[in-house]
């Protein structure tokens, strides 16, 4: 089966700084993939490259089996994106924005209008039809950005921090929507710092640290990897009653600095702080 997302030696440099370093990433079709990493690890840069917004310095990106550079317009029709800054047009209303996005993706007028109404209703934004997007709260803008990302029925959906600033009720709605999309065959590539949500939603995880992909696999695989293997001659330790959480796995992989020290500041620092 052709992977939905496949990168080979994907690299992006900004001057001397290497933001993404030879990443080989494979996301199978139908997976709910969580892409994790500390702040500045290269998550958003990777998403920008995977969605064609940023050119890689080197390496190859294949989306749904086709080369992204060679087929960018065709592939952009099959992907949906909620980018880091949401990239909404603030001086439009929600309805106007969704109608514009629908037309840009080639939907006919009738379908665009129908889906616009349904999505606004579903996202609980139908009552805000006279408000400009710039006057929306952050959570409302997130919901609108997600609605715009799915209006054309994408096969692959990229979400950069979709739950940031979204209230619990709206987050529940979004999660249900995303799970429904997975059930219907879509692939979702998600970054989030809320590891509980990632653990609950995602089937597979990739962890990027300092631009390098340091772990990739199902949560069970990562959990197995995080448990230290027995030394020769020793018996395997018994399975813990409470298996490692994704947060524990994540901290074990990236929670230390270059020297192996935990990032938590020692007690003696900031001693003036009451």
């Amino acid at each position: 089966m052709t992977p939905a997302i496949d990168t080979t030696q994907l690299t992006r440099r900004f001057g001397e700084f290497t933001a993404v370093d030879k990443v080989n990433l494979t996301v199978e079709a139908g997976q709910f993939f969580g892409f994790l990493g500390p702040n500045g690890a290269g998550k958003s840069t990777t998403i920008k490259m995977l969605t064609g917004l940023l050119a890689p310095t080197s390496g190859q990106i294949r989306i749904l089996g086709a080369d992204l550079t060679q087929n960018s317009a065709e592939l952009k029709r099959q992907i949906g994106v909620v980018p880091e800054g949401m990239a909404l047009f603030g001086r439009l209303t929600a309805s106007e924005y969704l109608r514009f996005v629908g037309r840009m993706y080639g939907l006919d007028k009738a379908t665009t209008l129908q889906r616009t109404d349904e999505l606004l209703e579903f996202m609980n934004l139908a009552g805000e039809n006279k408000k400009l997007i710039t006057d929306f709260s952050h959570g409302m803008q997130k919901k609108l950005a997600l609605a715009a990302a799915v209006i054309h029925g994408p096969r692959v959906l990229f979400l950069d921090e979709p739950f940031e600033g979204v209230d619990a009720i709206a987050a529940g709605t979004l999660k249900s929507m995303l799970q429904r999309m997975i059930a219907r065959g879509a692939t979702i590539f998600l970054t989030s710092h809320v590891l509980e949500i990632v653990e609950r939603l995602c089937t597979h995880i990739g962890i990027i640290h300092r631009g390098q992909l340091v772990a990739q696999g199902s949560i069970a695989e990562l959990r197995a990897r995080s448990v230290a293997p027995p030394r020769p001659g020793e018996e395997a330790p018994p399975q813990p009653a409470n298996p490692l959480t994704l947060e524990q796995i994540f901290l074990e992989i990236v929670g230390a600095d270059r020297d192996g020290n935990l990032a938590t500041p020692p007690e003696q620092e900031l001693s003036w702080l009451s």
Binding site: F14, T45, A55, R77, F89, L92, M104, T134, D257, E269
Partner: protein
């Protein structure tokens, strides 16, 4: 919340091949229209009605002035084209078309801030949609067609075509066709320059080199020794030696100029044999194609996701390892208590004769300025044109030359006074939270702006004094000084007021790429109105001086005006804390939102 049903989640689908170009282009045209219409809707809400009326009145006054600026060159161009053909001097078309090209680029360079003020969105934001490159290229070309340079240039060429047709109707088809291609070439050329400059100036080092080059060009004007240049002097004259080479150079370039687009365009219209004209037209088309290709090449890079800035977007700040941080902290002098820190601040204030808040804010403004090479370029560019003015039509009118040059040099910087909190963005909350007087913050920002403006004015003043052909009387210099004080403080007062009443967030990333205006549309128009108004004031004042044969009269008129402007600014400062507190909500809405 609506029930979650299958209909609400569009099913993943393989799209039908190809989106018609008209669908996407019409969608973008509709987007622009809605943004335009909704912009009015937002302005008209509640307390902004007064602002809307003010904006409309301001535009009613200013647009005719802009129209005159466009129509003036067009009428002149039409007349000169008619003159060249009717009086059988067809070669006169070459300098005329060259002048149009230079005018086009002059307006393009000076219209950047105006175009940015009128821009409603960045075409780059459309790249996430499934656009083909051809459509993106068409969009990029179409979206800037209403810039001042294109309007002025196209009107001038259209008038030239009419002038040629009136003089000789048989040349009409060729004139309209060739000048249409020439207009396209100028559009491609100015766009090409803009996108390549954006690319080259993306790195700080390149900007610094560019700044140095600009400085060298300015100094180069003096090396050319225009001051002593008199074409009618005999070659044996002692001062003629340095000028002979220049005249020889200018004569030598004549053959070279024949290979440039203005000559090809002119010769395509009036070049003698039909085959020769066709060949000239082909050469013009070749130039147009070269500029277009260079433009397309750059836009294709952008289309593929080029990122020009040096720093990674959102890259992590490299954290210092803890032991290094601790070591550094040990090496730094520590203030163990608030009292000690306060004493340090007072000492600082005593050293600088200004309050610690102002000193701290000034230091922050200096850090901002230090990292902004574009500002240096923006300051150097007008000086080149000032040097040209000093040798041009204003050279014999020192009364207007000095004030005009200083006003022109400061024009680009004045807009910054009208949105002093824009670059701070959400950081403005710190001023509201910290135990400081907001007046001090504003004074610090204004001191920083004044330092830049006065530097620019002083440089322009020195250039004019250096290059002017006629001596500038002391009375004129004194009156200009008062006029500058009046203009600066009037702009400071209005600008500070607008900064509080109508703040606008400035994207640093876009500002670096010169794509973001430093102030809103109304503020931009207000700057122009005050500048034009105060400059136009020079005309009746100068006439009055001539009538009474007393140049000091101007100083007597501008001195009280300057005093009034300074008083108005002081009055504003006295009330600025209260004014900001009453506009806290607006600050949060405009500067702190995403």
């Amino acid at each position: 919340m609506a029930e979650l049903n299958d209909r609400s989640v569009p099913a993943p689908s393989t799209p039908a091949p190809g989106i018609p170009a008209t669908t996407q282009l019409l969608a973008i045209a509709w987007l622009r229209w809605r943004i335009f219409v909704n912009g009015f809707r937002r302005q008209s809400s509640g307390s902004k009605v007064a602002g809307l009326i003010f904006t409309v009145v301001l535009r009613l006054i200013l647009w005719p002035m802009f129209a005159l600026m466009a129509i003036g060159p067009a009428v002149a161009c039409g007349f000169l084209a008619w003159l060249a053909i009717a009086h059988r001097h067809p070669q006169g078309l070459v300098p005329l078309l060259a002048a149009v090209a230079i005018l086009w680029q002059f307006v393009a360079v000076n219209g950047v801030s105006m175009a940015a003020t009128l821009a409603t969105f960045d075409p780059g934001s459309l790249l996430r949609f499934p656009l083909r490159f051809g459509r993106y290229l068409v969009l990029r070309l179409a979206l800037g067609l209403l810039t001042p340079s294109t309007i002025v240039g196209c009107l001038a060429l259209f008038a030239a075509a009419i002038g040629i047709s009136v003089a000789d109707s048989s040349l009409a088809p060729a004139a309209f066709l060739v000048l249409a291609v020439y207009a396209a070439m100028n559009i491609f050329f100015s766009r090409m320059i803009a996108v390549w400059l954006e690319r080259w100036l993306a790195t700080r080092r390149a900007r610094e080199i560019f700044g140095m080059l600009m400085a060298v060009v300015i100094i180069g004007f003096q090396v050319l020794n225009f001051r002593g240049l008199k074409f009618h002097r005999p070659t044996g004259h002692p001062s003629a030696a340095p000028q002979n080479w220049l005249i020889a150079f200018l004569n030598g370039t004549h053959a070279f100029l024949n290979w440039l687009p203005p000559a090809f365009a002119a010769n395509s219209i009036v070049g003698g044999h039909a085959l020769a004209r066709l060949a000239q037209f082909a050469a013009l088309l070749l130039w147009t194609a070269i500029f277009f290709a260079a433009l397309a090449l750059r836009l294709h890079k952008q289309f593929l996701g080029e990122y020009l800035s040096e720093g990674a977007p959102g890259a992590a700040v490299t954290l210092r390892p803890h032991h290094l941080a601790a070591q550094a902290a040990d090496n730094e002098p520590r203030s163990s208590s608030n009292e000690e820190r306060a004493t340090g601040n007072l000492q600082l204030a005593a050293r600088t004769f200004i309050s610690p808040t102002i000193a701290t804010c000034l230091r922050k403004e200096w850090v901002y300025l230090r990292g902004n090479s574009n500002q240096i370029i923006a300051m150097l560019t007008p000086l080149i044109f000032v040097a040209i003015f000093a040798r041009g039509m204003l050279a014999r009118h020192p009364s207007y030359l000095l004030a005009g040059s200083v006003a022109y040099a400061m024009l680009g910087l004045l807009a910054g006074l009208y949105n002093i909190f824009g670059a701070d963005g959400a950081g403005v909350q710190l001023y509201l939270l910290a135990p400081v007087r907001l007046r001090d913050v504003i004074v610090a920002k204004n001191i920083a702006s004044l330092a830049l403006l006065l530097t620019e004015a002083a440089l322009a003043w020195c250039l004019v004094a250096w290059l002017a052909t006629a001596p500038i009387p002391l009375a004129t210099q004194v009156s200009t000084l008062f006029w500058v004080v009046f203009m600066l403080f009037a702009n400071l007062a209005f600008g500070t007021l607008r900064s509080i009443q109508s703040p606008r967030k400035v994207s640093i990333a876009q500002a670096r790429r010169m794509r973001s205006p430093s102030a809103g549309k109304t503020s931009g128009l207000l700057v122009l109105a005050i500048l034009f108004g105060s400059f136009l004031l020079q005309i009746p004042v100068t006439m009055l001086c001539q009538h009474f044969d007393n140049l000091w009269l101007a100083a007597l008129i501008f001195a009280p005006l300057a005093a009034v402007a300074v008083s108005a600014y002081a009055l504003l400062l006295a009330n600025v804390d209260h004014l900001i507190l009453t506009h806290r909500d607006l600050f949060a809405e405009e500067l702190c939102s995403d």
